[in-house]
């Protein structure tokens, strides 16, 4: 596979390390009264969709950036690649 890095252009996915669903960026509040349940759902449950999937890739053999890649799990077509840090900052703004 080829991941089109927002800064570095197309790079072989072999340079990257895969983590999983981008929802792993949305870590619950440890002080919430339902923290235990929230952390369980956060860490263990997955939508695991057949189709578009937002997922985290780490450019270990590159610029060490974490990316949010939108990829179709049926066709492997990649439609979007973002810097995870930008996504994370935007997420915090929304909160």
């Amino acid at each position: 596979m080829i991941i089109n890095h927002p800064h570095l252009g197309p790079r072989d996915a072999q340079e990257f390390v895969y983590l999983g669903d981008a929802s792993l960026m949305d870590r619950p509040d440890w002080q919430d009264e339902n923290a235990a349940d929230n952390f369980h759902d956060y860490l263990y449950l997955r939508d695991n969709p057949d189709g578009e999937h937002r997922e985290l890739w780490y450019h270990e053999q590159g610029d060490r950036s974490w990316l949010v890649v939108t990829r179709n799990t049926l066709t492997h077509e990649i439609t979007r690649v973002e810097l995870a840090r930008d996504v994370a900052i935007a997420m915090r703004r929304r909160k």
Binding site: H7, L8, Q14, E15, Q61, D63
Partner: protein, 189 residues
């Protein structure tokens, strides 16, 4: 004065060899200092670089050259660059810190890396066997840098002249990296 003297030992002992159309040599006495740009400190760093070196922050994947040509800045990511310049000894950090002051966070990297220059008309043919990056002179001209993997090793590569590339790889695996390059050269000749 101490009764024990410390002598610097290059990772590959100053390796140098020439083959038909390819030359391979260890680049010693090169200093590498990583410069991290503090969160929100891009402008300050840009100014510091401009004042001290008359150049700009290189974008990730690109390099910029100090106006005196002596220091090359490699854009390693959007918030980190490597300063590469000739310097013997282990005090390179002070040089950068002295010039850029508190505009960034600095880490000595010289000894993390072994530096090799591969040059000659057949250097691309040799690298083609291990390097996934497109080294075509149009696709990868001087002014670009890439970090990738070759033969299971992390490598930073950038062209420093026509048909000439600098390769940086982990110093602890310098021997295996050299072996990979020598094998590539053997295989194409």
């Amino acid at each position: 004065m101490s009764e024990y003297t410390m002598t610097a030992l290059p990772a590959l002992g100053g390796y140098q060899a020439s083959f038909d159309g390819v030359t391979l040599q260890e680049v010693t006495a090169t200093a590498i200092v990583s410069i991290a740009i503090p969160l929100g400190g891009d402008d300050a760093m840009a100014k510091a670089l401009q004042d001290a070196y008359g150049t700009a922050i290189p974008r990730a994947g690109h390099t910029s050259l100090a106006n005196d040509g002596a220091t090359r800045f490699l854009g390693m990511s959007s918030e980190q660059m490597f300063a590469v310049f000739d310097h013997a000894g282990a005090h390179a950090l002070d040089v950068i810190a002295g010039n850029l002051k508190d505009a960034g966070y600095y880490t000595l990297q010289s000894d993390n890396w072994v530096a090799l220059r591969i040059s000659g008309p057949r250097s691309r043919d040799a690298l083609e066997r291990i390097c996934p990056i497109d080294l075509n002179s149009a696709a990868f001209p001087q002014g670009k840098v890439a970090r990738t993997t070759m033969e299971h090793l992390g490598v930073i590569i950038y062209p420093d002249d026509t048909d000439s590339f600098i390769l940086l790889s982990g110093s602890s695996s310098a021997g295996s990296f050299l072996h990979a390059l020598e094998t590539s050269i053997h295989n194409i000749l």
